[in-house]
Amino acid sequence: MVEIIGTILPPVVIVLMAVGLFFMLAGAAGLLRFPDFYTRLHATGKCDTLGEVLIIFGLLLYHFFIYSPGAELSVKLVPVKLLFLIAFIFLANPTATHAIMKAAYNTGVKPWKKGDARM
């Protein structure tokens, strides 16, 4: 059982972290490429959050199975704090995105329609 986990888990962790890194790259590229403030918030507020959650989840699996294979339970349960971090990021990042979009809408920043110049 331990050998099965030992051979199947590192590729799973590497795949999870690679997919998370790809989403964070898409988020940063969207910040540079999109033509308007509202569309830039679309790219970063969603892709960034999901990429980050995937990377931290991969690190949680790595710590639980590979980092300390024979230690006692109290050392293995340290990454429960990472679960709190994931839950907090899922709640906090969309709320911050929504707050700043509401402030921009009420102050008068104009949205972009197809065919306008880049702003």
């Binding site: 910040l31 960034d48 931290i56 590979i66 340290v78 704090k81 971090l85 709320t95």
Partner: protein, 96 residues
Amino acid sequence: MIEEVFMREQVFLPIALVIAFMILLCLYRAALGPGVFNRVAAVNVIGTKTIVLLVLIGYIFDRPLFFDISLLYALLNFIGTIAFAKYLERGEIWSR
């Protein structure tokens, strides 16, 4: 057969370098973006990427107690962005 030193040096270090490079990319929008709202959004993104970078560095240098620092920074980043948005919308943060 894959042991933990291999994971640390050959998987985590390139990922941390790519994330640090993306923080440099976001500085372009923070310096250039017309108006103040683009800059606040860019600073929020840089804060989000810093949280992941802190956890990764904690694993590379064999100090897994870095989670506490990144949890604290997640809270500070969230509160800072909301305080900024409230100030830009109303002109004050807390009114009686």
